[in-house]
Symmetry: D2
Subunit: 262 residues, 4 copies
């Protein structure tokens, strides 16, 4: 069962977001008798279990914390990772562009640390399914653990395989590649996608885009879109409203396209 | 039943995307014996029904079109509207920030033309529910029609009511306001949201943000984020890769916050 | 003599900026007995000559206009052109990056419509000099006319020549190329620049940048910078402060580098 | 005499830019018998004096450095400062918008560390003049020293005065305020500017812009522009062309306006 659904009272096993001052937060699973050390005092898990979400609690030093349910964005943001993870600004847009909605059948490769995996699983629901490919065992183990933490294991099949050899599925609705050389796999993508299916990928350099555009043209993909998304945070002060000083200038270019009947 | 699921063969009643040259597309429902006029020739619906998605078809003048299933982004983009609609870049991000995932219980106000309504319905699935408020009857009729077009009626309850009087639900997980004066309704928002729930809104001017920040502080909302998202399209030409000349500079600022246990 | 210097009273031959409502402006040379037709009424030049700058005047229909001296930005913005002209955001930055200051010795190619020509002339003063190359006669005639309009002819030498054959000057301080294929002329650039001189160019596509980087590396240029500048205008309304809806997404990438002693 | 003009051979007193690997640079005045310590070895000034600009030289450890003349952008970037300084992207644009060209008569307040001071001085030449106001003595001393370093002292008059009491000049062409509360001085600005003169300022928050717009309206300033400029650097690698990871998201909003005949 999904562990990030809607309910009022915390229970053991829930993921909890502890919010201290200045937006610093900790994401922890609630475990009977456990303790959580912060530099602003110890928090006893037993004080958190059975509480209402949204409560104000205190560390043993009397410092205040808010007990909140984490949302999917905070979950992926604090996902244990050994790779670069994708940003919410990019993931949110690709969900819409690639029609990754409740019930969708989706492939992603590579799995990486599983941050995109978690969001796709959360969106497609039990009616949908995600096939997640990676050739590196340690990646898939980490992603599996991250997914399990939010209780959505059943919606994802992890497949350890080099996609050079092709995908095991056909007729999938959407296929996303987070790899440095997606242009080498367009033939395999074409086999796996339902005709008219949604293809997407993310690439850091313009040189890679050029190669990908060539490969997409060769396989007659249509409706190619190349996009970048920039996100700017503002200082949320009513008397000093202004953008924060620094921002992420680049995560990657997003490329989308549709396969056709060959 | 959702009409934007995954299958190979078109049938009457489906929404179809007809893609001509240069990314120009038409979104039409397939109707036995109907004809569709384009400036590049007539297309007979009977030639489309029973075809494979992804097929190349021709107008009576012999001009080529691709027959594709529309994705949720193309559906909202071609939604009939009598108001400004939200953009995919903003909707995608708010889904993640507000945890609008499969199974979520959500309120939105106002309904508007129902573009956000459709995306939320597509994401929450049958396990979730959306309550959509608007005081204008013609708006809700339009949104209901737009939602019906994608077969997701059952997931949304339209409520015609001035939210000044409060929302009928309590304990909803996420609540989004697309109104010029959200700062006037924070008390009502607080009543409707589950403690710890996700609040969001979109505002075009900095003056409105200032007022909203004041209201959120008064009701002790926490974890306030003010963000803007800029999207830039690139010319998808492998030998002339560059941003397109002009872009949308501003749709609105996104503001997110969490309610707490009062 | 420069015609955009500082003084109080207009005289025949001056360039004048007529500002009507909503920031619409007209830039005209003042000519005895002439008339200027606007859709808000006729303006008689004799009513403008001998007036104080900054005066409010009226058309024959009684519509108000402000009589202002044009600044260099407004002058280039209303320059007669038969090519794409450079934007103030890009020109301003390159002045600083390429050290184009009072007294500098500069080459530009091509001349184009002469908008950059005018700004450089305005900055380097009488102590500096600009050599402006173009192989197209009609371009140079237009640029010469535009420059003459602001009274800065003496500071610029126009040279009609294909730069493939090299530049006639050596030891110039700064050299700017506004051409589609600057990578073909780096050897010539190297000959013309003083060792350590400032090189710059503007290019619309990423493919061109890649070629230029290769050429710069071959000729051992150092301190290469690739930059883009985005400018966003805001609606200047105190109660509705917000970015305007649309903006220029791309003018070109700016590339700067320094030559060395070979 | 300006110390950043065009010539081939270095001499004592010159400012020199020492460029090591990876764009790291040092800006030093050349002094007979001095030594310069870098973490890549000692450089003897006597090895630099009398050399050609653009030469490759070596530290005592054999590490290579390029000997370049600094441009105005590098000079202000390495200006000794005790305040936030303005960025080249903003300064370049304001030069054009405010018509700060060779021969212009300009006021700025406050002086700050004198980075804008130096650029204005470099542009207006000996025919122009800049009046720089600040009430803090230590600021003006620092700015004077920074200006003297580039040999442009004669073009600037430093005035230590609270501008609340008004400016000593009238009929200046352009007036720039770099202060937190420019809206308090619009009356004084109006007195100092020639009718039709160019006013500009930079402000970090939207709240300040709102106050300024109100003040400008009260004093009937026309042609108000509110703008922000974003600059994005790219990694200058021909095989990995992409924006760098992080960027400055905000320096300030630029506001420009014209005074009129009152």
């Amino acid at each position: 069962m999904s562990r990030i659904g809607v309910y009022r009272i915390t229970k053991e096993g829930d993921l909890a977001l502890l919010m201290g001052q200045r937006k610093k937060y900790h994401l922890i699973p609630l475990i009977q008798d456990a303790e959580f050390q912060t530099h602003r005092g110890i928090i006893y898990h037993n004080d958190l279990i059975g509480k209402q979400w949204g409560s104000k609690i205190e560390s043993h030093k009397g410092n205040p914390f808010y007990l909140l349910q984490p949302g999917i964005q905070e979950i992926i943001h604090s996902t244990k990772r050994n790779t670069q993870i994708m940003y919410a600004k990019d993931i949110g847009y690709l969900l819409l562009k690639m029609n990754i909605i409740n019930g969708a059948s989706v492939i992603e490769a590579g799995t990486g640390s599983g941050s995109l995996t978690q969001v796709i699983a959360a969106m497609i629901g039990k009616e949908g399914h995600l096939y997640s490919y990676d050739s590196r065992e340690e990646m898939q183990n980490l992603a599996r653990k991250n997914l399990s933490r939010i209780g959505m294991d059943g919606r994802v099949t992890f497949i350890r395989k080099d996609i050079e050899e092709g995908f095991d599925q056909t007729n999938v609705h959407s296929l996303f590649l987070d790899l440095p050389n997606p242009y080498d796999y367009i033939s395999q993508v074409n086999e796996a996608l339902i005709p008219g299916g949604f293809f997407g990928c993310i690439l850091p350099t313009t040189n890679q885009i050029v190669k990908l555009l060539t490969a997409l043209r060769r396989y007659e993909f249509v409706n190619v879109e190349v996009t970048e998304i920039m996100l700017r945070h503002y200082q949320a002060e009513e008397r000093k409203l202004r953008p924060v000083d620094r921002m992420v200038a680049h995560t990657g270019y997003l490329i989308f396209s549709r396969s056709i009947q060959s």
